[in-house]
Assembly symmetry: C2
Homo-oligomer: 251 residues x 2
DNA sequence: CGCGAGCTTGATGCCGATCAATGCATGTGG
DNA sequence: CCACATGCATTGATCGGCATCAAGCTCGCG
């Protein structure tokens, strides 16, 4: 198994030990524990004791798998995708540290999408029935969990707006702004980033072909908005990107 | 205020009285109470006592409104839409009897979309804090609520697949099949339906222009798949439609 | 070093957008 | 009851953005 390439990974920390409690996790301001009191978080600790490593290219879960747990990304980077019967597939999201995976599984007791690690990653396993029980006793946890699900719904609506009404340039600009904003919230630079996904995966997410993604990157570079070197992106003119968009949901 | 045009409405029942308890509501197999025991449902009754009438064209809530309640459609038909800063907007869903509105509001304590009645409608008001409390004491209710949220997420992923990778005909076919299936679950014919929305609203939902929607309807008619008279649709060849699609998520 | 996955760039074509005119149903006021 | 306005739907003609097809190119890696 390859070692975790911490220096090149979208993860603000290194793994000091095999176990890191929620209460001392530096992601607690981004993850499920947001807003919870110290005692509540300690309850979480007792539940979230298992961690799982997923090597780049491997699946955390796949369509049809029995649903048992949610997963919080601790280090690394994932994509989720659904596929149609005739083989086409659609990337429905990219998840980074502190974000939750597996919410789709609650509806049917089966997962309805694949979750693939785009780099060597580690997730915290959150057994769902335990989460349900615990959130019965801890109102704050319940509320936080509901907020996370709702946020996912709102995010999806934003993607629909993007897919339904924006043109290629707007889509890519919106995508980049979203990425940089999330990276910034995790303590990374808001201007320099390394893409963890291929042009094809970006295209799938944005409803474009990889060639169009590539051309649009080149166009942005010509216009001085970006510096593009393969997967290394430098945002030179974030305001310029923002002007292109104006298509994010109004709240 | 116009009277409820029950005969022409997507609603399997007439309103016998001002108050209908969840426990005796004929939508209980489609709505929040699914799978709940009799005593649990009676608890719901105590919470869901307020009903609200929304005339065609009016808004149940709009972007930015403070979030306080969820709404279960009792009679009628709604659309939800998000809009971008520059005015474009995107229909994110159509809701019929038994379906829940307002889940977007949980994330921020503000609604992030508009909900518009497409015909004179009535909703049951579900105060959110009460729902949270009640679902702490009734595990089945909690579970059911989570399933509904998760189902919305899964549905959204299906729409992303549609918007991201299907062509106009496939989109419209998928849309019609979805509508007829939901109507059938409510006891309506699976072949004859009346659209409650304009071509423009269908187009917005499907990421198409209204002219394209219209042309595609005409094409389907020429091919003998449908009979189209304005908003009255008769599905002549459901299998033909299904063959066009093959693009719904695989579970 | 050479292979291959992924990226870039060009040439061409098609699907759906756009623009525009007409048709159809409903409603309103003279 | 007719004339007219209005909102929605249909249909045609044209255009453009993105897909498609097809080379090369880059870079990491065995």
């Amino acid at each position: 198994m390859p070692i975790m390439a911490s220096m090149h990974s979208y993860t603000p920390i290194k793994l000091e030990a095999f176990k890191v409690a929620c209460s001392s996790c530096n992601l607690r301001e981004l993850c499920l524990p947001v807003g919870l009191s110290q005692p509540d978080i300690e309850q979480l600790d007792s539940m979230v004791s298992v961690r799982r490593t997923v090597a780049r290219g491997e699946m955390l879960f796949r369509t049809g798998d029995a649903f048992q747990s949610l997963y919080a990304v601790r280090t690394g980077f994932f994509k989720t995708c659904v596929s149609s019967e005739d083989g086409r597939d659609q990337v429905t999201g990219f998840q980074m540290a502190g974000e939750l995976l597996g919410l789709d599984g609650i509806s049917n007791d089966r997962h309805s999408c694949d979750a693939v690690a785009l780099e060597d990653s580690q997730v915290c396993v959150i057994p769902y029935t335990q989460l349900e029980e615990l959130s019965r006793d801890f109102g704050d946890l319940q509320r936080q969990f509901h907020k996370i699900m709702s946020r996912e719904i709102v995010r999806d609506h934003g993607v629909m707006l993007l897919l339904g009404s924006m043109r290629a340039e707007e889509r890519l600009a919106a995508f980049l702004l979203n990425l940089t904003q999330r990276l910034q919230a995790r303590g990374f630079s808001g201007s320099a980033l390394i893409l963890r996904m291929t042009r094809e995966e970006i295209g799938s997410y944005l409803g474009l072909k990889l060639e169009t993604v590539s051309r649009t990157f080149s166009k942005f570079q010509e216009e001085g908005l970006l510096e593009v070197k393969q997967r290394q992106i430098k945002v030179l003119d974030p305001e310029g990107l923002r002007k292109l968009v104006n298509g994010t949901p109004s709240c």
